[in-house]
Symmetry: C2
Subunit: 393 residues, 2 copies
């Protein structure tokens, strides 16, 4: 079938080689990845099938990874990856949502059949879809294996983006700029929350200059008034009031590479406490991105931001950012480096972060965030939406 | 804050009481639910925060459930639920995406502090976001607890919908009809796949007659040509060809209650093999829904369908349907009753299913599905989109 793969085969080969080197260093024979982003990054596999157990396996002695999943999704593996036919393996359909059987009974049997039953096997113990029950069935089915947690081995391998990946990240950033500008243009008193969100979805998918957008790992988020004091509420049918604070957090995705962005708006004349908070956030974000060069650590970036915040009389308890790249629901964060105290990860060119400068106080909150690429001149903005409290009169 | 809860408090009270009765029968003192749909169904809690560990706890001796989650999401619990303030508990922010610490270290500590450390604790071992690592931290933190798998206790309690829930299911069905009709109207040669999907998202959220739609648990799916032989591919920028088969699977959601629907379209003059397959599917679906009355079993519904299929020379290996209701990504199925051989669940009025009549052959596939409510006259259609291969010339 005529399917446009997001990358050349050489890019996937390079990734697999890198992962095998990391496996060797960590003493891992067989790596089992259930994180959909890791499955995609290693093979190109793409499809909304992650609600059933599935995995990509990397074995030290195998040239190519193996895909394991539901029979009806095997064709999607054939279409979206370059894997050889014999590397596409399926489980028995009857095991789906079954009280005693589990698809990974078949995965364990397959691993045994390949003579890997006594291997050192790393699983993604904290991947969203790798459930406690999935792991129990693996352990039971492979009594002689030595299991360990991969500790996000592939997620860490994804940290520095290749030039080919940065093309998608920048396209996602450009699309994100368009999406946010369209959302802002839609905001007015009396407009219902869902009308803003419908506009967002439409523009997320329509893309920019013929480059369409994928679904994003987090749905569009909008908070109004007191709702701005918590970040993850979704839309309702309430009309936007005359005089109110609004926070919007959105994403845009190109081939599943994400640029997220938040902006805070005021409908009417903003009170002083909101302006003060927004000013501190904008200044703090600029200070953080100035520091975000190769050689700096994640905690140093956070410290630069926190210092500005503190000077203005605020503080932020939660982390102020996280690594971003290719991802699938429910999260666009990579679950690796975080911009927070104690994270000594050293920045390198090509790493991408979402500087999430949200500050949520007791009654109000504001966020004016920036996704960026680490570069020699500091954090390179992926988006270009005005960096201020957006006031709409 | 002025937040419109989806149900009266009495509805939630009734649910909690039902769950406590089931816990008593199963010998469970404390039930820990991480499935976002279960958390919502028990308390009303709503927000896209399920990418971090969080849970709703039901204890046999407590009047109300407890919410446990991230500090910045506690306000969302205050806004969207009726839980008393002391029942909203948070973990330390530093534990998010941490290599050695885990939010459920704090959950275990909280359970110990309440004197529940030696309780019979049921967890949702196979809930999508209850990871193997989450469970390991629970077991380590509560060495004297007796853990068991809840075996979807709450999911099973959700099986029969209340009258109040059926209102949302029917609204979702009406919205789904509108969304599919708009998608179909958009399909034409030369139109790009993403243009159809942008229309879908827009109509999913805009809703019908002032009743907006929520995000759906599965993104809109579109397959073209040979892609119709696998069900979970997503859109691309390819223009729809002149003479081709297209499958579209969509959902619509009201307050997170889902009606999913699939339709198969042909652009041009459909070949005989496609018409034959579509006819068998339509006839088989009607036969199945005729059987779907209180007292029939899930496997009897499947058998009625399979019998028709077989007569036409087809068979379907995978299950032909599953229970639906309130849900969150990544799946709108309830992971309980399935329409398949061996499932002896007895149908009762108010159960809702998606009859997923997709048949995926080697080179083509077709699906003309129907969400329905079990009723005295058989399956009551939630949607009203023409039940046939939709031919577009």
């Amino acid at each position: 079938m005529d399917y446009q793969k997001p990358f050349e085969k050489a890019e996937f080969d390079r990734r697999v080689k890198d992962v095998k080197n990391r496996m060797s260093d960590a003493g891992i024979d067989l790596l089992i990845c259930q994180d959909p982003a890791n499955m995609n990054w290693l093979t190109g596999f793409d499809g909304w099938s992650f609600y059933v157990p599935q995995a990509v396996l990397v074995h030290a002695d195998e040239v190519a990874p193996l895909w394991f999943g539901r029979p009806q999704d095997a064709k999607a593996a054939r279409i979206t990856t370059d894997l050889p036919e014999e590397n596409i393996q399926t489980f028995s359909e009857t095991r789906v949502h079954h009280l005693t059987e589990h698809p990974f009974d078949d995965l364990a049997a397959f691993i045994l059949s390949r003579g890997w039953g006594s291997s050192r096997i790393a699983v993604e113990l904290d991947a969203h879809y790798y459930t406690a029950r999935a792991h129990a069935h693996m352990v039971k089915g492979l009594p002689n294996a030595r299991f360990s947690d991969s500790q996000q081995l592939v997620n860490w391998a994804r940290l520095i983006k290749s030039d080919a990946e940065l093309v998608y990240m920048r396209e996602a950033g450009q699309l994100m700029t368009e999406v946010m500008n369209r959302a802002v243009a839609k905001v007015a008193p009396g407009v219902r929350e869902y009308e803003v969100i419908a506009e967002v979805y439409q523009s997320q998918v329509m893309g920019l200059e013929g480059k369409y957008g994928d679904y994003t790992s987090i749905c569009p988020l909008i908070q109004v008034g007191e709702g701005t004091s918590t970040p993850h509420l979704t839309w309702s049918d309430k009309p936007l009031p005359d005089d109110t604070l609004i926070s919007i957090e959105l994403g845009a995705a190109r081939r599943h590479y994400h640029a997220p962005l938040t902006r805070t708006l005021y409908l009417g004349s903003p009170p002083k406490d909101v302006l003060r908070l927004a000013d501190a956030i904008v200044e703090g974000t600029a200070a953080a991105l100035e520091v975000a060069r190769p050689g700096a650590t994640c905690e140093e970036v956070e410290a630069a931001w926190q210092k500005v915040l503190n000077r203005h009389g605020y503080k932020k308890e939660s982390r102020s950012g996280y690594s971003i790249g290719v991802n699938y629901p429910p999260d666009w964060g990579e679950r690796t480096a975080s911009l927070r105290p104690g994270d000594e990860t050293v920045l390198q060119a090509g790493m991408c972060f979402h500087f999430q400068s949200g500050v949520w106080l007791e009654q109000i909150g504001a966020a004016i965030s920036e996704p960026f690429v680490v570069g020699e001149k500091g954090g390179e903005h992926l988006c270009d939406v005005r960096r201020e409290l957006i006031v709409i009169h």
